[in-house]
């Protein structure tokens, strides 16, 4: 019997395998910034889109899609470190004529896709009217009506002055405008398919759970965006996204705060780090009604016992600005000093004055690395003044029900916790959760102050900046005086991207692709 060597020899197999690597590497890469004569941007999408209708969206990634393809009256700009608004490219004129009247005049020639004609003032009126009955109507509480004065012009009439409406509503997701005729044809609302768009980009492809592709809108009369195509690629996990960036598959991604030191100190080649904003605010909350914490001296002792700088260093690697109140840096009214600070001697003195000894507390926190590290430092700090603390990590479900009366009786046992909220660009947005009305809902600290409520109401309609600043300052002082808070830090919205890319990311973390430029 003879054996012919027709099959693959071992030596041949090994040689083939070695050769396969470079060959695979030479196959066309799906994600290259400049390819096939086109400029292509590959951006990481954190969550797949669900509802693109501004009235019924979840928010977040949907807003970035809306920004790319839908019209709006104004957008956010950063002027000397403070966020404010500027008219969008659709506007010939946009101004606040008096505290309750905003007049607008649209440029002509902006066409809706799918043959729905020109973008007109009628679309603006329809968009805002429908917001009053939408899921996001709370954002438009100040809106009374829209009066049209011509096909391209009109006036937005407010029920009362609302300086916050610019940065919390008009420039935000709830300020994106829809096509009246197309939306009516779609039955009044829509989910993942926008019936007509009017932006520099159009949605060319959506592959659920994979990617969304924008291409240039050939009928766009405004300034053309720098990128011919934007591929918005779904990578939900932060670590996977960082690897995808390092492998060259995405050109920009949000990064976890724990990864920031690596990228700031030793970035990959051709990489910049951009911090879009610090609109998250974190604090150690105390239930002022809990029997163990009713003594104000005890709470004040805790305020002085917590070493916030150590928390920022250990849990956030010095990448989060220290918090001095709930208004974050960059937002009008942000403070640079709180009325208390780390002073263990004073904390011990206050504990002695309180007459309380052998105190044991439960510190509840979300089960996340940075929060747990923060909790451990707080535990050590409180031990230093004679308070024994037990850390209880919780998943998001139980945690977010902790202080809400509508979710059970847990709120009665809540003692101290690490909390983080996020806000918009106007200070009013931050105070809304701490009024007397919010006790048992989001005011888990359960303190009330008539003065606070009164100033908060006035702030909503106050238009004079000096008086607003005074009010914001007093509101934060009252919160300090409640002794229900230890201000911790403002977590950054940080992104890594190619050096050749100048991204525009709104401080709440959404990309504004139409304003991205390539160097």
């Amino acid at each position: 019997m003879t054996h012919s060597k027709q099959g693959l020899s071992r030596r041949g197999f090994v040689a083939g395998a070695i050769a396969a690597g470079p060959v695979l590497a030479t196959l066309p890469n799906a994600t290259i910034v400049r390819a096939q004569g086109k400029t292509i941007l590959n951006a990481r999408l954190q969550r797949d889109i669900t509802v693109l209708d501004p009235g019924y969206m979840v928010g977040g990634t949907e807003i970035a899609v809306q920004y790319a393809v839908m019209p709006r009256l104004a957008h956010v700009v950063n002027e000397s470190g403070t966020f404010t608004w500027a008219p969008s490219e659709y506007m010939a004129a946009l101004s606040q004529d008096d505290p309750t009247h905003i007049s607008f005049e649209l440029k002509t020639g902006f066409m809706w896709t799918n043959g729905y004609g020109e973008f007109t003032a009628e679309d603006v009126k329809y968009s805002l009217d429908r917001m009053l009955v939408s899921d996001w109507k709370d954002k438009w509480l100040a809106l009374d009506r829209v009066e049209l004065s011509g096909p391209y012009s009109g006036t937005i009439v407010l029920k009362h002055p609302s300086p916050a409406i610019w940065l919390t509503t008009i420039t935000a997701g709830a300020g994106n405008l829809v096509c009246k005729a197309a939306t009516e044809d779609a039955g009044g609302q829509y989910t993942t398919e926008i019936p007509a768009t009017c932006g520099p980009y159009v949605i060319a492809e959506w592959t659920p759970k994979q990617r969304l592709v924008f291409t240039r809108n050939p009928d766009w009369p405004g300034p053309m965006p720098d990128f011919d195509e934007v591929r918005y690629i779904l990578v939900d996990d932060d670590t996977a996204a960082e690897l995808a960036y390092e492998a060259g598959e995405v050109d920009i991604t949000r990064v976890a705060v724990s990864s920031l030191p690596r990228y700031t100190q030793n970035p990959p080649p051709d990489t910049n780090v951009t911090v879009a904003g610090h609109l998250q605010y974190a604090w150690l909350g105390m239930n002022t009604e809990h029997p163990k914490l009713q003594n104000e001296k005890v709470r004040q002792a805790i305020q002085h016992a917590v070493d916030v700088d150590s928390i920022i260093q250990a849990a956030y690697f010095d990448n989060a600005p220290r918090s001095f109140g709930i208004v974050p840096p960059g937002v009008f009214g942000s403070r640079s000093q709180a009325s208390f600070g780390y002073d263990p001697a004073k904390a011990r003195e206050l504990m002695a004055e309180s007459g309380v000894s052998g105190l044991e507390l439960e510190l509840k926190t979300l089960n996340q690395q940075a929060r747990i590290v923060s909790a451990q430092i707080i535990q050590a700090n409180l031990a230093d003044i004679g308070i024994a603390t037990k850390i209880i990590p919780l998943d998001s479900g139980p945690f977010w029900s902790l202080g809400r009366e509508s979710k059970g009786d847990e709120w009665m046992d809540a003692q101290i916790w690490i909390m983080r909220f996020g806000g918009a660009l106007d200070p009013l947005d931050y105070f809304q959760w701490f009024t007397s009305e919010q006790v048992g809902n989001w005011n888990w600290e359960r303190w009330t102050s008539e003065e606070f409520d009164e100033i908060y109401q006035k702030l909503a309609t106050e238009t004079d900046d000096a008086r607003r600043l005074e009010m914001i300052s007093r509101l934060q002082e009252i919160m300090d005086e409640s002794a229900g808070y230890v201000w911790l830090q403002h977590e950054p919205e940080a992104f890594i991207h190619r050096s050749s890319l100048n991204p525009v990311i709104v401080p709440t973390g959404e990309y504004d692709f139409r304003r991205f430029t390539a160097a």
Binding site: L24, N29, A30, V51, E205, W400
Partner: protein
């Protein structure tokens, strides 16, 4: 044989029903307020109310289950609570990716595992047999997510030979194949060891039997005896193992799907559990249970068809 098949199919339906019921109950007993988790802490009361109504959370659990079951019997798994897309559409968009991944993983791991098992069995207690044993146990014990991450770092980040994320350009076969290599390798690696050990044990048993000794005594070459005569008999238990294994891979692929950001049924269910999108979770669990039971059933029927001893014992 027909009676056996009918009995197994009947049992399969009962199993699917019980699995779906058990998971339905478990999903609803996950701690935490599903409304807050799904919508985030700041959802307006209107959004919360709409969510509760859509999810039928204001109804007793048994009503929710029977409503789901009624829908299933009519071929309607409901709609995604956010996008309102039909659950069936969403599932059938994700399912092919998982089936392709599981098939590719099982194919390469079975091919290599069978080869290693035969190779070891043909040289029992030799150095090669021992090395193969260590390799097999090694592949079984290393978790697939660890393999996934290392593969990703080495072949995608450092060498840049293969892509990191996704399933490839829609409609581009070669791109999709490139995107399949790392996840399929990571998912299948553990099965190489299982298959190799199973084949080796079966082969050693079969090699000692009379018909194999008879084949050797006729002077047939070693390779022919091992691969044509012994393997044909020894492969039967492995077929059953592969049937169960394929079912396991369907759910086990979730790690690779998450790490490689690859769409698939496992990742879909994982994401939807995290957002408490119950209609999609329930639909996904139903489809996965059916697939699992179907593959196991197919393997059993195949084994019975191939082995007269099994048929005779029915």
């Amino acid at each position: 044989m027909l009676n056996y098949a009918l009995q197994r199919i009947g049992l399969a339906i009962v199993i699917v029903f019980l699995v779906v019921f058990a998971l339905f109950v478990m999903i609803h007993f996950i701690p935490g307020d599903p409304v807050a988790i799904a919508l985030g802490p700041r959802a307006t009361p209107e959004i919360e109310a709409r969510f509760v109504a859509k999810m039928r959370l204001d109804e007793p659990l048994y009503m929710q289950f029977f409503a789901f079951l009624g829908g299933v019997l009519q071929g309607d798994l409901g709609n995604d609570i956010f996008s309102e897309r039909p659950v069936l559409t969403i599932l059938f968009e994700a399912l092919p990716y998982t089936v392709i991944l599981a098939t590719a993983a099982m194919a390469w791991s079975a091919a290599l595992g069978i080869f290693l098992g035969c190779f070891s069995a043909a040289r029992p207690n030799s150095l090669i047999d021992r090395i193969t044993g260590v390799v097999s146990i090694g592949t079984i014990t290393v978790p697939s997510f660890v393999v996934s991450i290392y593969m990703l770092i080495v072949f995608a980040v450092f060498l840049k030979w293969l892509p990191v994320i996704g399933a490839g350009e829609p409609g581009n076969f070669w791109d999709q194949a490139r995107h399949l290599i790392l996840p399929a390798f990571a998912v299948g690696l553990g099965w190489v060891g299982y298959v190799a050990r199973m084949v080796r044990a079966s082969m050693l048993e079969v090699i000692g039997e009379n018909h194999i000794r008879a084949a050797r005594s006729f002077g047939l070459p070693h390779r022919v005896v091992v691969y044509r005569y012994a393997l044909k008999v020894a492969i039967l238990p492995t077929i059953t193992l592969l049937g169960i294994g394929f079912g396991n891979l369907l759910s086990g692929a979730v790690f690779a799907e998450i790490i490689f950001s690859r769409p698939g049924i496992g990742k879909l269910i994982f994401d939807m559990v995290m957002t408490r999108n119950f209609p999609v979770v329930q639909g996904g669990v139903l489809v996965t249970a059916i697939l699992y039971v179907a593959t196991t059933l197919t393997a059993d029927l195949l084994a019975a068809a191939m082995d007269p001893r099994i048929r005779k014992s029915l």
